[in-house]
Amino acid sequence: MSQNHSAYLLLRRLAIFATSLFLIGPADLQVQYVRAAIPGGPIAVGGPSFGISGTPITWNPAAMPIQYRVDPGPMAVSPFTGAVVVDNSMGISRVGSMFSAWTNVSTAGLSTSYAGPLLSSGAYTGGPVAVGGLAAFNAIEQSCNQGVQSPVVFDPEGNLFSALGLSSGVIGFGGPCDVDPASGYIQSALLALNGNFQNSVSQISTDEFNQAITHEIGHFLGLDHSQINVDVLNQTPGGCNLAEVAGLPIMFPYLICQARVTSGYPPLSPDDSAWISRLYPVTMSTAGKTITSSAFGTISGTIYFSDGVTEVQGVNVVARSTANPLGVAFSATSGYLFTGNPGQSVTCALGGSECNTGGSLDGSRDTRLIGTFDIPAVPGTYTIQIESINPQFAGGSGVGPLRRPIPMPGIAPPAKTVSVSAGAIVNVAITLTGTPPRFDQFETSQLILRDSLSLWKFPKNSSAETLTQ
């Protein structure tokens, strides 16, 4: 073997390695389980050995209501005067209202109930968690991790958040604690509220606070982020265009605009309502509820590279009502049921210390799901818009199956218009124009090599095949 050929083989490995990084990112090489953030959809999707492959991770719809327990202390106390600003009963009521924003969706078949004050657990023997400090919170967290209870913790003066090392700007946090790996059902979740945002220390409006916590409850229930009207990021924080706020999901990654309720809109956007209904559909006639399929249709499809064959992951697809394009919009990201990290053995084979052979626990490995999307939408006429996920929506602010979004390759074709009927599925195939050569983790190394080299401006006659000869 010539020296040049050896160099070529090394470069080929580097090229393949780099391409795999382009797809999954280096952090993913370090771990065995990386979640796929799914826009406007489930917080995670089952994988080969985690839940049911390709099925969203949710609470068990047959075990409703979801029961949560609440801190028996006040929700907000003034550190200046010691006066209670939001007492426990009001706090419980407000939390209940925030849960109701989701459970009141007539097409969503989920319910929640306040099960009483927090259960004693270890070092937590009752009373306000904040009084017991970090030891008490640690015990509550433990009980949540074990699936014993789903706690709502009040931090009336922000002392607990501070003890956790969190900065003053953190309004609240939450999400599932425990998921049954067999069924994929959420067993418990936690919600923590920083009272400093309601006691004049870092005051925000009641509407803004409620919206922030309702967003966290969305995670608690199994929803992830959604990207619609992303242009608000270019607008004045707190002074966003009203027409865009109408369609701005409460599950948008950042709290950057004025609250939806303050703007005269309901707490949830159409996209929020659609996705909670998709995760928890009403399938039988129930008092006060509407059968989901009678109120929603589905826009399904696949995004393709210019070759019309290779599917593209991580493209945001937004269906906008022709009657109210900014206010009534629904979204999904291509490949949302497929894993964001299928794994690869290249780094291990190269002797690297960071292996990722198995990829994520979550997300389907059914290759038929690559690049596909399903958008729940109320009956009407829609234009289908496709776009990149905002590059800053990564990791904790992630949107889409890829932990780090990629720019949408190529150019979007002219927008298609579709009509949606209740209970019907409209199929849409979208082929991008002018894309670079295809790349995905299932291509042969020769294809990856050839395309990678052509991307890197190698002469067209220097194909992989000729180089190896």
């Binding site: 090392g165 709290l255 950057i256 904790g396």
Partner: protein, 203 residues
């Protein structure tokens, strides 16, 4: 046959691609934060440090075992605020099980500018405003370094001009120009550090 220059081109592009991927920093999952401008972030930060991550470790808190944490160790290129040496480690609480799997997005090799809360008595701290106090650093083709936080610097410089004026800080002309017309997107690291130093000197 592959020529030497082509080989170098491939290798260079490979390195660039790796650098781009490694440069992405991610915030913590499952929290919402209020918007904070640079003056807020600088004031609340007990430690402001620029450097490179040399290791991450996910482990339970040594005293409170149900609280998972990520311990991040950085090789310090510059300490802007706080008494720290050539190496700096901080321990951050992570509540989301998914953050345990990927160290909340911290990665060995990342070049970051971090505005961190001072470590508390439990040894815990975190970037101020999470993604807002975490800037990833990138270098352009001519070697200039840029800083971008997890919000693409949206709102970072809003209101800073009036704050500086209220504090009697006379900003350098270049800083004045930046804060008088705030925009999102990467900021030249030197410009950002100049602003932070000016704001932190008063805070």
């Amino acid at each position: 046959m592959i020529s030497g220059s082509k080989a170098r081109a491939v290798a260079l592009n490979t390195v660039l691609l790796v650098s781009i991927s490694a440069g992405m920093a991610a915030g913590q999952r499952g929290a919402l934060t209020a918007s904070r401008n640079l003056d807020d972030l600088s004031a609340e930060a007990g430690v402001i440090v620029r450097g490179r991550i040399v290791s991450t470790r996910v482990e339970p808190h040594p005293q409170f075992s149900a609280l998972w944490t990520v311990v991040v160790t950085m090789q310090v290129d510059e300490a802007i605020k706080g008494q720290i040496g050539n190496s700096y480690s901080f321990r951050q609480f992570i509540w989301d099980p998914r953050d345990r799997q990927d160290a909340a997005g911290y990665q060995k090799g990342q070049r970051l500018l971090l505005l961190l809360t001072a470590p508390n008595s439990n040894g815990l701290s975190s970037p101020v405003g999470f993604e807002q106090g975490l800037f990833h650093l990138s270098t352009d083709t001519v070697g200039s370094v840029y800083a971008t936080n997890g919000r693409n610097n949206v709102g970072l410089l809003s209101g800073v001009a009036s704050r500086a004026a209220a504090k009697g800080i006379r900003l350098a002309p270049r800083s004045e120009a930046l804060v008088s017309a705030p925009r999102q997107g990467p900021l030249a690291l030197d410009d950002l550090l100049t602003l932070i130093r000016q704001l932190a000197s008063v805070n």
